[in-house]
């Protein structure tokens, strides 16, 4: 499999990375060399092998559904780029 410039553009959109037009070729070349290394995996027979997502095969631990966190909004918002009255500010979304 190889990744074309159009696909690079599409994936960059999904990843919300604003790759400039003139860098797309370079990204396609670099990604293809990395993806080329991964082609080796197709040689391995994995029929019936259960995927391993947690190395210890452990399952999600659950807790009681009670409040454990205190509200620290003001503290956490001191490091935000732009806030007003407890709200995070972004460019206008709705016209």
């Amino acid at each position: 499999m190889s990744i074309s410039v159009d696909e690079v553009k599409k994936v960059a959109g999904l990843a919300r990375l604003g790759i400039p037009e003139e860098r797309l070729d370079e990204y396609s070349t670099k990604l293809n060399s990395i993806l080329g290394m991964m082609e080796q995996l197709s040689a391995i027979d994995t029929k019936g092998v259960e995927p391993l997502s947690n190395p210890l095969d452990s399952v999600q631990r659950l807790r009681e559904d009670v409040v454990t966190e205190t509200n620290q909004r003001d503290k956490y918002q001191t490091i935000a780029p732009e806030v007003e009255e407890g709200l995070y500010l972004v460019p206008k979304v709705i016209e």
Binding site: L17, Y27, I34, M38, I44, P51, P81
Partner: protein, 496 residues
């Protein structure tokens, strides 16, 4: 070989253990040793760039408090008053936590990581935050937005990565111990390149709470220090269950120092034949083989083992880790914290430009690989396939541990390489973690300790892999070796 302890006079030549013993016995104050280590950082760090932040004032304030607490008998912990440094991805309340990235150049963490809390409670003194590859992605520390770190054994060479700053700091004796993190080899490979001892515990042994996430099914924190004994003392403090990390292991933690002197007579050591095949530098092979013979002389039994799928570990890792990273790093949006672009024209522009400007090249490549591998139409061919092969790699280890107690081999296929040598060839760079990645995928504990030098006087690290939660046994084995050799005590000439 003789132990040079009697000759040691300077406070910065003392090991973590000696510092701890000296503080308990009142031979020096916390302020005295803090000043001594800070002076050394001031003198030598400009040569190495191993720190992003030095906390001179904070460390002295802490030292004064801890001196008082020790005097009043309120603080008797082994680590009380012992200085240390943290890789700059452990959150530290009120202190810049940059993760080696421009994205977080202004991120003053609003809370402490679990390990930061544990070390604070023990009374350890935080000297500063170590340089690292951006978001822990790299094997050379060349991917830091804060500049490359230099290897103390030869400053034209890389220290390894991603915990390269911490490894260089310990090797040059700018900190008696540091904490690093290891996702595919980021503690063991720099430990090997810098001639120090480092352990990546079993996945889940140390809480990931407050550790900036790279690949959540692989990330694990661990100590790096001069000796296995020092690593054991530090691991005692940071290991253990934490409910704030959903994958934290509930297995009980023993005292890692209690079994350090146990006999290793009859220990069965497996050597994976795949770790000695093509790709291994012959000079490194010679040093490793000599090290194996020394273990034989100490009473160990050597057996060749087979890890038939281990050659697939690098491609598996470079699907799984970027896939998880692309998800974890989606939180950096220019809205809540971190870098934000100037004058965004709309919300999408805000996201896309903030991320393009904030992330470095390697991080962006991995986000792209990961997003691609998880995207519709490719998920089965890449991510699912990689997870299946991951199970086969784990299964190889499970079989191997039916025959042997531990596994040994090189920590890295080469010694440190020159700065700039591999920056344009990602695949060549990825192979630097050829021998550490299989362990990470299986979630097993692994360590590296110094075993000698190559022909260019660069350190070689022996990798030691244990079965799940066998950290005590591994530290014991490395400690016994370090009792009869002095590789770990050697200090690079410029920093002696």
């Amino acid at each position: 070989m003789s132990h040079p302890h009697s000759q040691i006079t300077s406070l910065t030549q003392l090991s973590l253990k000696d510092l701890s013993d000296g503080l308990q016995a009142g031979r020096f104050s916390v302020m005295e040793i803090t000043d001594a280590w800070l002076a050394r950082i001031e003198k030598f760090n400009p040569l190495l760039n191993s720190f992003i932040t030095v906390l001179a004032d904070g460390a002295r304030t802490q030292a004064q408090q801890i001196d008082n607490q020790i005097r009043k008998g309120e603080l008797t912990h082994t680590l009380a008053g012992v200085p240390y440094a943290l890789k700059d991805l452990f959150c530290t309340d009120g202190v810049l936590t940059s993760c080696g990235s421009k994205m977080l150049h202004n991120f003053v963490a609003p809370y402490d990581a679990h390990v930061t809390t544990k070390l604070k409670q023990a009374g350890a003194v935080l000297l500063g935050k170590n340089n690292m590859d951006e978001f822990a992605m790299g094997s050379s520390n060349e991917n830091s937005a804060y500049g490359v770190v230099r290897n103390p054994w030869n400053t034209e060479y890389v220290p390894g990565g991603s915990s390269g700053g911490g490894a260089a700091a310990v090797a040059a004796r700018l900190a008696p111990f540091v904490l690093g993190t290891d996702t595919g080899g980021s503690i063991r490979q720099p430990a090997s390149f810098c001639g120090i001892t480092g352990i990546k515990p079993t996945y889940g042994r140390v809480s990931r709470f407050g550790m900036i996430a790279f690949a959540s099914s692989l990330d694990q924190a661990g100590p790096m220090a001069v000796s296995a004994e020092d690593c054991a003392i530090a691991l005692n403090v940071i290991a253990g269950f934490d409910e704030r990390d959903s994958t934290s292991a509930q297995e009980p933690v023993g005292d890692y120092t209690a079994s350090l002197n146990n006999s290793i007579e009859g220990l069965k050591i497996g050597l994976p034949k795949q770790f000695f095949a093509a790709g291994l530098d012959p000079d490194v092979a010679t040093v490793i083989e000599r090290g194996v013979k020394e273990f034989e002389a100490l009473g160990a039994i050597i057996k060749e083992i087979d890890l038939p799928n281990s050659h697939m570990a690098v491609p598996v890792y470079y699907i799984i880790a970027p896939a998880e990273a692309s998800s974890n790093l989606s939180r950096f949006d220019g809205v809540r914290f971190g870098h934000r672009c100037d004058n965004p024209k709309d919300l999408r522009d805000l996201y896309e430009r903030s991320r393009w400007e904030g992330f470095g090249e390697e991080v962006k490549r991995r986000i792209m690989v990961g997003t691609y591998a998880l995207s519709a139409g490719y998920y089965d061919a890449y991510y699912l396939k990689a997870q299946q092969v991951r199970r086969l790699i784990k299964q190889d280890f499970v079989e191997a541990f039916k025959q042997v107690d531990v596994i040994m081999g090189p920590a890295a296929p080469t010694t440190a390489f020159k700065i700039g040598e591999k920056v344009d060839d990602q695949v060549a760079m990825y192979l630097a973690d050829l021998y550490t990645i299989p362990t990470s995928l299986a979630g097993l504990p692994g360590m590296s300790f110094p075993i000698g030098f190559d022909e260019h006087q660069l350190p070689v690290g022996m990798q030691l892999i244990g079965n799940y939660f066998q950290e005590a046994r591994m530290l014991n084995i490395a400690h016994r070796y370090q009792q009869t050799t002095d590789w770990h005590l050697r200090v690079p000439a410029k920093f002696a």
